[in-house]
């Protein structure tokens, strides 16, 4: 194969420490990740693992303190503002919270046309494009004249997806895009993501704390633990028969929706926890 | 903690120096006019003006003049009034005592009444809530100047219960003192309650909506403890900030009230001194006014730090 669409190597991010003369806190300690065209790569981790930070670094919302991010072979680690704005056509985002990711004071139509016009489309073209986009994400075209608060969580997330698709990007960073949604909505929105990928060939970086969600959409999965990538591999392998002890722990902790299977999983988890407590506890970490 | 206090104190002093310096700078273009008016229209020959300026040290560079003043202040010497030859420190202190006695009494009353009303309104609602909202509206609608005059008219002129004007020092006659400050204090208290009670009500309501209130209830903890201990403590922070602003607002209001009631206070003093161009007095008044502001802000921050454990790590 040719160069991957996105290549992240040895990425480090540090945030300034809290308080007077505090040392910076490094939240990513050298992370590698690559995403090919049309591929969906899941990134799994718990709170504090740094999974959101990787996404934000790729989007240019946080400045890396080390390492390299390359998009289509071109270094974008510290792209200047102008180059960054041009990248908006290539890399897009869908955030977790559909309630705060849309400006409450703007109509859906304005939310969707604003970036298009910004990138040089005429108002007429932009409007036509918005109609197509709304159709693609399964929203009625009269949504254009409505405000975000008139929609349910799932519908807002569809608007957010339409906004991400608007410039025809090659990569969408999806940061927990379904975790704020209800169960039934969650499944439908995930199917929409898959459907869009099949039709457009866009690549996804799919960030989630939920193994089941990641398993559903990803081709490959990476597992993050406290700023380190501990395991990367094909989705079914990593999410059902992982190698790394942390991934195994994560898998056993996630309850299965089947009382019998869950009892077995729980007992297995408790057995391991006891074994770990009895043996050397420090080694694995 | 001590380090934090020292740091804040240092910042406060730097601000006070900056404020007085800027004031001095702003005043400096009018020094000539001041000297002219001091000499009177006939005596203000260019030679006389120059002589007086040299005499007062006003012919030196501004920074030197200011540093000279500041050096005096650091030794406790605030200068001498151009017109009365009274030491500025004494004059300012005696005037400040009058103003502060009114403002502090008014503030204390406002706080007690506002906390009671605000707390009751926030968790009981009903009649108390309507009273708080109406008082606060009326207090905002009518300028305090008009309220003060109305009170003078009713209590002093019509009913003759209290003296309309003048001030009796506390040391001379406590009852007379109380009588002389009653109407000015009431005039200030109305505005104070209007502001504070609404703010305390708002802060309490915000806090009462928080999740922990429900959780405390489910543990069987009594309403009194929830409201007066848990919620009030958390609402006190935002309310305190408003309180410190209210103190400064009252100081401003007192300047006008003093004029209505002919009280020999700070505002009156500032007014006459600036009319005369009495530079040492103006600087003394500015310095003490600034130190008051700095002190109030520092105190507010310290109490806030004590109230809020998260802020304490500093």
């Amino acid at each position: 194969m040719t160069t991957p669409l996105l290549e992240v190597s040895d990425l480090r991010v540090a945030f300034p420490g809290r308080g007077f003369r505090a040392k910076p806190v490094e939240v990513l300690h050298g992370v590698d990740l690559s995403i090919a065209s049309g591929e969906a790569v899941g990134v799994v981790g718990e709170s504090g693992s740094g999974k959101t930070t990787i996404g934000r670094a790729i989007l240019g919302l946080v400045k890396p303190s080390g390492g390299r991010i390359a998009f289509a072979g071109q270094d974008i680690t510290a792209a200047p503002a102008k180059a960054r704005r041009a990248l908006a056509r290539e890399i897009q985002v869908v955030f977790q919270d559909p309630y705060t990711s849309l400006n409450p004071a703007m109509e859906i139509g304005d939310i969707l046309t604003e970036p298009l016009v910004m990138h040089g489309a005429t108002a007429k073209d932009a409007r036509a494009r918005v109609r197509t986009l709304l159709d693609q994400v399964g929203l009625p075209s009269d949504a254009v004249r409505r405000l975000p608060r008139e929609f349910s969580g799932g519908q807002r997330q569809r608007v957010a997806i339409a906004r991400a698709l608007a410039p025809g990007p090659k990569l969408i960073v999806c940061d927990e895009p379904v975790s704020a949604l209800d169960l039934s909505t969650q499944a439908r929105v995930l199917d929409l993501f898959i459907d869009i990928q099949r039709r457009t060939g866009v690549a996804y970086m799919f960030i989630s704390h939920d193994l089941a969600v990641v398993r559903h959409v990803s081709h490959r999965v990476s597992v993050l633990y406290r700023g380190d990538m501990v395991e990367t591999g094909p989705a079914d392998k990593v999410t059902s028969a992982p190698d790394h002890p942390y991934t195994q722990k994560l898998l056993l902790a996630a309850p299965v929706s089947d009382p019998v299977a869950q009892r077995a999983r729980r007992e297995e988890r408790q057995r391991r926890a006891q074994a770990e407590a009895a043996g050397a506890p420090a080694g694995a970490a | 903690m001590t380090l934090y206090v020292l740091r804040r104190l240092a910042i406060g002093l730097v601000l006070a120096v900056l404020v007085t310096f800027i004031t001095y700078l702003l005043l400096s273009p009018s020094f000539d006019d001041i000297v002219v008016s001091k000499l009177g229209p006939t005596g203000a020959t260019p030679e006389a003006v120059a002589a007086v300026k040299t005499d007062l040290g006003l012919d030196r560079p501004i920074v030197v003049q200011y540093l000279d003043w500041l050096g005096g202040v650091l030794h406790g010497d605030f200068g001498i009034s151009y017109f009365t030859s009274q030491p500025v420190g004494d004059a300012v202190a005696s005037r400040l005592a009058v103003t502060l006695s009114i403002v502090l009494v008014a503030l204390a009353i406002s706080v007690v009444v506002s906390v009671t009303l605000g707390v009751l309104a926030a968790y009981r609602g009903g009649a108390v809530d309507r009273i708080v909202q109406s008082v606060s509206l009326i207090g905002h609608l009518v300028p305090s100047l008009l309220i003060a005059i109305a009170f003078v008219y009713i209590f002093a002129v019509k009913l003759g219960w209290l003296p309309a004007t003048g001030y009796t020092p506390l040391s001379e006659d406590p009852v007379g003192w109380l009588k002389s400050i009653t109407i000015p204090v009431i005039a200030l208290v109305i505005g104070g309650i209007a502001n504070l009670s609404a703010q305390i009500r708002g802060a309490m309501i915000d806090e009462l909506h928080k999740d922990y209130v429900r959780t405390l209830r489910t543990r069987g903890i009594g309403t009194r403890s929830i409201v007066l201990k848990h919620v009030l403590r958390n609402a006190a922070g935002p309310a305190l900030t408003v309180l410190s602003l209210e103190f400064l607002t009252m100081l401003g209001g007192a300047l006008i009230i003093e004029s209505v009631f002919a009280l020999p206070g700070y505002g009156q003093f500032a007014f006459t001194s600036s009319l005369q161009g009495d530079i040492p007095v103006i600087m003394g008044i500015t310095l003490f006014g600034t130190l008051l502001v700095v002190g109030v802000n520092l105190l507010t921050d310290l109490v806030n730090g004590w109230l809020n454990p998260k802020a304490r790590v500093l």
């Binding site: 056509r89 004071a105 025809g168 | -």
Partner: protein, 604 residues
């Protein structure tokens, strides 16, 4: 977010976009408020009168005539009379309007210009620039306000416009702080990030997304500052600060005050004019606040749930008759909230549940299904606006609905207890963990402080806190979310309740912590013989811990049954739909990476 907060937003069912409430723009809302219209009309009238001052009045404001000395109301040529210098009162009033309005414009204008500009800069750009602006405004705030305006008389030379310019700077810190806080709040909103990712320039983001959010509070502040500037100018003029050739309400009031006993009307006219003007500004500010920020918050009463008058509340059958073997019985419970139009809308509509001793019942449903409302009702902690319209809740055979807060208090902690969803927001940030737990123990049992402390220490150890002594002394922000949830569980089980209501107790936690908390709940339950009502949306949690399940949809229980039964043979279509939506372990993505890249929207 609790379910209560989501009520309005999430009631709309997924498929059809519902025309939401409050579609009207704030400006239209403002124009429907009679108070706003009246005040606006008053203000426009003032402006017009001020502009036409020279046309309406036949005399100049400083034109003194000896014949007119103290002329009374209705004198020919002096409709409102004249003052002790023989100047026409009407003319002075009209010209004073101009002085006031110019004062307001300068004062509020300077404050807005300075405050908003620096607020946007200080809020949006990095902390380094912000600390600079903070210093400048801290300095401005240190100036002793009104005193400064008096002290600077030698340089303002009595020009009120210059004085108001300085006053504008003194007002600016307030605007700065409002703007900066709004910007700081908004700038980390995801929609601003999204705008940045969309390739918008900083200028456009500031101008379009951020200014929009800042606009409301700043407009409100502007109305109040306009009033303040006018009041201060009048106050200064009353004191005599300023040129006495400039007609102003303050100066007129001052002159009237000197003549108060002989010619009271000379005092009344300017007072009325000033009073009405400032009152109109304050009332307009209030109307603006209502229109732009929504109605002011109502008091948050702490009281037992309101039972609708005449509602059929209480057991339909003789108390306890069919409660045998149940610690908690909910029967035909309905809870309603008032809609903006004043009608009641039911969010819980006839819910019935039975909870046996030592049993765990999962109350499952999506957001807006009413599951949390049902849980709050059993604890008697519904929000004050909620109304129970019918039904019965019996705790150990005793009717709970209709009890007062005081009576409920005797049940809480001992008979029924609660574990919330968000561990952090459910602890009071200002008190140590230990103090909060001790107070709970002492409220529900008769033990001394020392005994309570001992019991709390034992509990903290029991719930798996590694260093109980230290946690006891910690403030909530010093412990992790998982630890905080253990603390809350300790608080709930402290007095050995018969029933534990757990509302999404693991939703806010990481999966690994969730597993530990579920283990803890299971162990405590068998140890204490508690019955648990577990509110959740997560079927994995249900499968892990629940004996029975009740499935809720739009305020109703659609299906109840043994956990294994419902997972293997769900009866109701909604349950089947929910179970079908679960992303199970078998669903793995099978298709490879998409090959072709056709950009969307090109109509290929």
């Amino acid at each position: 977010m609790t379910e209560v907060g989501v009520l309005d937003a999430e009631v709309a069912p997924e498929p059809a976009p519902a025309p939401g409430p409050g579609r009207r723009s704030p400006w239209r809302r403002l124009l429907q408020d009679p108070q706003a219209i009246v005040t606006l009309v008053v203000l426009v009238a003032y402006v017009v009168l001020g502009l036409l001052a020279d046309v309406i009045a036949s005399h100049g404001p400083n034109e003194a005539s000896l014949q007119a000395y103290n002329a009374p109301f209705g004198t020919d040529g002096h409709p409102l009379g004249a003052d002790s210098s023989g100047r026409d009162i009407l003319s002075r009033l009209l010209h004073s309007i101009n002085t006031s309005l110019v004062s307001g414009l300068i004062g509020a204008g300077v404050a807005l210009l300075v405050g908003v500009t620096f607020g946007l800069i200080g809020g949006y750009y990095g902390p380094r620039l912000r600390s600079g602006t903070e210093w400048v405004f801290a300095l401005i705030q240190t100036f002793p306000g009104l005193l400064l305006l008096i002290v600077l008389m030698p340089i303002t030379k009595g020009d009120y416009r210059f004085t108001m310019l300085i006053f504008g700077f003194l007002l600016a810190p307030g605007v700065y702080r409002i703007t900066r806080n709004q910007v700081l709040g908004v700038k980390n909103e995801l929609y601003v990030d999204a705008a940045r990712v969309s390739g918008l320039t900083d200028r456009r983001i500031l101008g379009r997304h951020i200014l929009m959010a800042v606009r409301g509070p700043v407009i409100i502040a502007a109305a109040f500052m306009f009033g303040t500037a006018i009041a201060v100018q009048s106050g200064l003029a009353f004191l005599g600060v300023g040129n006495n050739q400039v007609p102003s309400f303050g100066a007129m009031i001052s002159e009237g005050f000197k003549n108060l006993y002989s010619e009271p009307m000379q005092f009344v006219w300017p007072s009325l004019a000033l009073g009405i003007l400032t009152a109109a500004l304050v009332l307009l500010g209030n109307s603006l606040r209502d229109a732009l920020q929504g109605a002011r918050r109502k008091p948050a009463k702490i009281a037992a749930p309101v039972v609708a008058p005449g509602a059929a509340v209480g057991s339909a059958s003789p108390a306890g008759a069919d409660d045998a073997g149940a610690v908690l019985v909910v029967e035909d419970l309905a809870i309603a909230y008032p809609t903006p139009s004043g009608e009641l809308r039911e969010v819980v509509d006839g819910v019935s549940l039975r909870l046996g001793p030592g049993e765990t019942l999962g109350l499952v449903g999506e957001s807006g299904s009413g599951k949390t409302q049902t849980a709050f009702a059993t604890l008697g902690v519904l929000p004050p606006e909620a109304v129970v319209t019918r039904g019965s809740i019996r705790l150990e055979g005793r009717e709970v609905l209709g009890l007062s807060e005081r009576e409920l208090r005797t049940l809480r902690g001992r008979s029924i207890a609660y574990v919330p969803q968000e561990p952090m927001s459910n602890l009071n940030p200002s008190f140590t963990v230990g103090a909060q737990l001790v107070e709970g123990v002492r409220a529900s049992t008769d033990v001394s402080r020392a005994e309570a402390r001992e019991r709390v220490m034992a509990l903290l150890t029991r719930v798996g806190i590694p260093d109980p002594e230290r946690t006891f002394r910690s403030y909530p922000h010093q412990i992790s979310g998982g630890m905080a949830q253990r603390v809350l569980i300790a608080g709930a089980v402290a007095s050995r309740p018969k029933v534990l209501i757990a509302d999404e107790p693991t939703t806010a936690l990481d999966v690994t912590v969730q597993a530990e908390i579920l283990d803890l709940l299971r162990d405590l339950q068998s140890e204490l013989g508690m019955a648990v009502l577990l509110v959740t949306h997560n079927f994995g949690v249900v499968a892990d811990i629940c004996d029975r399940i009740a499935v809720m949809q739009e305020g109703r229980v659609v299906e109840t049954g043994e956990t294994t039964e419902i997972f293997t043979a769900p009866q109701h279509p909604y349950t089947r739909m929910l179970l079908g939506a679960i992303l199970d372990e078998e669903t793995v993505r099978t298709d490879g990476p998409a090959a072709v890249a056709v950009p969307l929207g090109t109509d290929a």
